[in-house]
């Protein structure tokens, strides 16, 4: 069982890295790109015998307590449908 956790800065938080990338892209000649926000993702593998309700709780906890800083970041979870 696999879950992907995507962490991004809250929309209200300035993202200097995203701004820098966007500016560089402008000089590449891609004026259509008006905004870039940078984030990170984590692929998390769970033991096959993890009960479904435990999976959800565990991934939520991992995302909330470890992988994001709630002051500046938010997250979403993509479950791998194949597994």
């Amino acid at each position: 069982m696999k879950a992907t956790i995507i962490v991004t800065l809250k929309p209200t938080v300035l993202d200097p890295q995203g701004i820098t990338i966007q500016r560089c892209v402008q000089s590449m000649g891609l004026p259509e790109v008006t905004d870039i926000r940078q984030g990170k993702y984590f692929d998390v593998q769970l033991a096959d015998n993890t009960p479904p309700e435990r999976r959800k709780e565990l991934i939520q906890r991992l995302a909330k307590d470890v992988l994001t800083n709630p002051v500046i970041e938010e997250f979403r979870i993509d479950w791998d449908q194949k597994s």
């Binding site: 200097p16 470890v66 002051v71």
Partner: protein
Amino acid sequence: MKFGVVIFPGSNCDHDCYYAIHSVVGRPVEFIWHQETSVKGFDAIVLPGGFAYGDYLRTGALAKFSPVMQAVKSFADKGGLVIGICNGFQILTESGLLPGALMRNSNMKYICKFLEIRTAATDTPFTNSLSEGQVLNIPIGHGEGNYFADVDTLKELEDNRQVAFRYVENPNGSVHDIAGIVNKGRNVLGMMPHPDRSSEKLLGSTDGKLIFESMVQALAGRAR
């Protein structure tokens, strides 16, 4: 009166702090390895600068899981003095001992230089030897010192006079020019500038020493 300097894997100002307290301020100090589960016998804890856990995940984020941090938390909850310098400040915000977060500098650069900070609160155990508005000449060395907190938290910080130091010229984009804050109980200080690198004339400034001396004075007052 004994100071403890915590060493995380990746700390690199641990010896600077030890030296400043031991050899410049002249007080007993011992290192505390991050796997320790107790800080018994210590009167003040220093979380030094560096790159704990290589700054992996987020600066300070993994250090909060070191066993010693549970002990530091209970120590702080009971009113013990805790100072976090640079990476130590980042660890304190990630651990929830101080509000807010430290983000990438607004100019995206690692900044290493001497600058000036202004004392904003003198009624703390870390600033009692300073006068209101006193300007300190002190170095910074960080890539992620851009202090951020939401509007409500900032209002609370200002209302409670928890901002200890402000930059005279903001180098990194910090809200309200914040260089250092204390918690509500005023016994935990986090600051990006380095008092450990400015406690001796040879290093270009002795202003940082005033912060360690304030702690000594506060602890001596408690002991009486």
